[in-house]
């Protein structure tokens, strides 16, 4: 069995930190064939773990299938139907032309990113309330997640996980100001939430139709080629310039 240091050396090779020769020297007790097999195993394992994450990501990102509606017996006459259609049309016109009724969500909708959340592990969380809140988040019941997370914050429990999921929940509930307040600190600190907090802050500014803030919030993302939302930010900047 390989020890921790040996595995670490293989990981360093896969990450491009050391050469194959340096790896072979560090693991000189392995034959070249055995070394190649260990490298392949490690590479496969890493890909499989990432594939599991990608599967969850796709499940969250792709539109859900909506079952085709079953055919139903007509319950209203054509006259009643016409009257209903006219009422709906009036409501639509009122909505579209009513001052301030637009949510300005064109670009927001185009760039919306729903963070799926991390798997919530009861065994890892000694706080049942936290588990409860994150479960509501992962079920996309953001209003309940907000009330649970805000309650935890009020009790003095204030960590990055709460700040991030509270901010994300506010965003998805269209409370952009509160989302920005919750996410701002995370955008400045290096950590697992930083990149996503930066992008969600951009989305919050888009919700507010505050184009000046959007431009300033996308600039650090555009400046970082390795940022997971780099291409989205570049595209958004291009869209804003049009």
């Amino acid at each position: 069995m390989m020890n921790s240091d040996q595995l670490e050396q293989i990981e360093r090779f896969l990450d491009g930190e050391i050469s194959k020769d340096a790896l072979a020297e560090a693991l000189s007790d392995l034959s070249p064939e055995a070394l190649d097999a260990e490298i392949a195993t490690m590479q496969n394992i890493r890909t499989a773990v990432e594939a599991a994450g990608l599967r969850d990501q796709l499940t969250a990102a792709l539109p859900k299938v909506t079952p085709k509606p079953a055919k139903v017996r007509r319950l209203v006459s054509w006259r009643q139907g016409l009257a209903i259609a006219a009422s709906v049309l009036v409501l639509i016109i009122a909505y579209v032309f009513w001052p301030g009724s637009s949510d300005g969500g064109g670009l927001y909708a185009q760039y919306e990113y729903i963070d799926p959340g991390v798997p919530v592990l009861m065994s890892q969380s000694d706080d049942h309330a936290m588990y409860d809140a994150l479960t509501y988040y992962s079920e996309e019941d953001y209003a309940t997640a907000i009330s649970k997370l805000a309650a935890l914050k009020q009790q003095g429990l204030n960590n990055d996980t709460i700040a991030f999921y509270l901010g994300a929940s506010y965003l998805y509930e269209r409370q952009a100001k509160a989302a920005l307040e919750s996410l701002t600190d995370l955008t400045k600190e290096e950590g697992p939430f930083q990149a996503r907090a930066q992008w969600l802050s951009v989305l919050a500014a888009l919700q507010q139709e505050d184009i000046g803030s959007v431009r300033s919030l996308v600039s650090p993302i555009i400046g970082d080629d390795a940022h997971p939302f780099h291409s989205n930010a570049k595209q958004l900047q291009a869209d804003l310039s049009q």
Binding site: S4, T41, T47, A51, A52, L54, V65, M122, P192, S231
Partner: protein
């Protein structure tokens, strides 16, 4: 999006690219599945599996873009073959309509073999305990540093490192047991 942009978007797991592919090709894949004993839900599963298969092969360095070969043709061919394979497993395979859109160039046998290998390993990963799954996912999928993983899991950084080694060993042993069987 160009072929190159799609390739790069898949490689970096970009949702915008996935949504573009969905918008452009899902209807075509759904038609193929629905004509052959499946429904819209099956089609979405197959589309998702096709994306994962493409990503896996890009990640493993097994799939390279060739001139005059459209990445969408590979995606469709992968989805079609994944659907055949699923029907065979369901013992529901009669005959899948041949598609003129596929040519010999889009031979996906090798790509599917690689995907199958990684999918098996992914199943082993899902058999691990919750703590292991979370730790490995944070480290390899979310690329979180051990320090922040330790903070999230409320353990020390040293424990996080030791646990990561232990979890990797569990996964390696499941993988090797499976390899020995086959």
């Amino acid at each position: 999006m160009t072929n190159q942009e799609i390739f790069e978007g898949i490689a970096r797991r970009d949702n915008r690219t996935f949504l573009y592919l969905y918008k452009e090709y899902q209807a075509q894949i759904q038609r193929m599945v629905e004509k052959n004993s499946g429904n819209a839900e099956d089609a979405l599963d197959i589309f998702q599996e096709g994306i994962i298969a493409l990503w896996t092969n890009i990640q493993q360095g097994k799939f390279q873009l060739r001139d005059n070969a459209k990445i969408s043709s590979y995606l469709f061919a992968l989805c079609k073959n994944l659907w055949i394979s699923k029907l065979r497993k369901r013992k529901d395979f009669k005959s899948l309509e041949e598609s003129n859109e596929l040519s010999d160039e889009e031979d996906t046998e090798m790509l599917l073999a690689e995907h199958e290998k990684i999918s098996e390993l992914e199943k082993h990963f899902r058999q691990l305990g919750e703590a292991c799954r979370k730790l490995l996912s944070l480290f390899y999928y979310q690329k979180a540093p051990l320090k922040s993983i330790a903070a999230q899991m409320q353990i020390t950084e040293k424990t996080a490192k030791n646990n990561k080694y232990r979890c990797m060993q569990s996964l390696r042993s499941l993988y090797q047991q499976n390899a020995a069987k086959s």
